[in-house]
């Protein structure tokens, strides 16, 4: 095909038609180059215009809400046993837990029990934050918690000789 094209253009050599053939040749070249440009753009999702990355720094402030809900967990702990109570924190904020009272037959009100905050897991509460404490009016456990479901666990740390009744208050957002 190329040699045939060449011979056809060569027939334009006579002087009388030189200007017309030269124009045709230039036009052909221009069309081909234009087609090249179009073809490159059609396949052109490989080309991209790089933009310089922009960086902006933002400061995020997490609000720590104060407790707005108070729940009372009343229950019983057997000798060597435990009990837990689940609650829902609706916004990031402070949770305060107080072992308010302990009692029962053969159970002194000053007996120390285990107290913890954690996540309900299996048939129990997996307490990540714990303390051994007697009952009182001051908060024994506190922390900041993201929205989610948590639990308070109370357990015999080895001091009970009979089943103990208790009250725990849980204040949370």
């Amino acid at each position: 095909m190329t040699s045939e094209l060449t011979s056809r253009i060569d027939t334009c050599r006579p002087l009388a038609v030189t200007r017309v053939c030269g124009l045709a040749r230039d036009l052909t070249a221009a069309l081909l180059l234009a087609a090249t440009a179009l073809t490159v753009s059609a396949c052109g999702d490989k080309t991209s215009t790089a933009t310089s990355p922009t960086s902006t720094s933002t400061t995020t402030t997490t609000t720590v809400a104060t407790p707005t809900t108070t729940e009372v967990f009343s229950g019983r702990v057997d000798v060597g046993g435990s009990a837990f109570y689940s609650f829902n924190v609706v916004e990031n904020g402070t949770v305060n837990v107080t072992l308010a009272a302990v009692g029962g037959a053969n159970v002194p009100s000053t007996v120390w029990l285990g107290l913890g905050i954690g996540t309900p897991t299996g048939e129990d509460c997996s307490a990540a934050t714990t303390v051994n404490t007697a009952a009182g009016s001051a908060v024994q456990l506190t922390g900041t918690y993201a929205p989610g479901v948590y639990c308070v666990r109370v357990w015999d740390i080895g001091n009970l000789v009979a089943v103990a009744a208790f009250n725990v208050t849980i204040a949370h957002p």
Partner: protein, 143 residues
């Protein structure tokens, strides 16, 4: 020679435009399938009683469950006693269910729910048919 030049340029441009397409091919994307955890929850159930098992969904997804076995305590003989299965959220001293189904023992899915990421619970309760304590086994899967 000069008359061939535009054609040569054109052919070269074509080769450059499409010739390295394979080197910039993008890898096919694959959907991420969340890991599934399968749990066997077995315990005793008193007449009129209930038990629940709390679990955490790492991602949103389907929770499926079936009541695999009900037997009299200490007796391997399986019983065709219906129990109530439920899915919900731990609340207070129990599991606040949002979906329940009374089912009989089997080995295929009997309860399915689509849940978000977070903490949930599966509850087994006497549906009213118990005359004595039983041992139950539930198998469930969650993301």
């Amino acid at each position: 020679m000069t008359t061939r030049l535009p054609l040569i340029v054109f052919a070269a441009a074509l080769a450059a435009a499409c010739g390295n397409g394979s080197s910039t091919a993008t890898s096919p994307t694959t959907a991420t399938i969340p890991a599934i955890t399968t749990v066997t929850f077995a315990d005793t159930l008193d007449v009129g009683g209930s038990r629940f098992y709390s679990f955490s969904n790492n991602t949103a997804g389907s929770v499926t469950a079936f009541l695999a076995s009900v037997t009299a305590s200490g007796n391997p003989l399986p019983l065709a006693i219906p129990l109530e299965l439920g899915i919900g959220v731990p609340a207070g001293t129990g599991c606040a269910t949002t979906m329940t189904q009374v089912v009989t023992p089997g080995l295929v899915t009997e309860l399915t729910d689509s849940l978000a990421a977070g903490v949930f619970c599966l509850r087994v309760a006497d549906a009213g048919a118990l005359k004595a304590p039983v041992t139950f086994a539930v198998r469930f899967s969650h993301p």
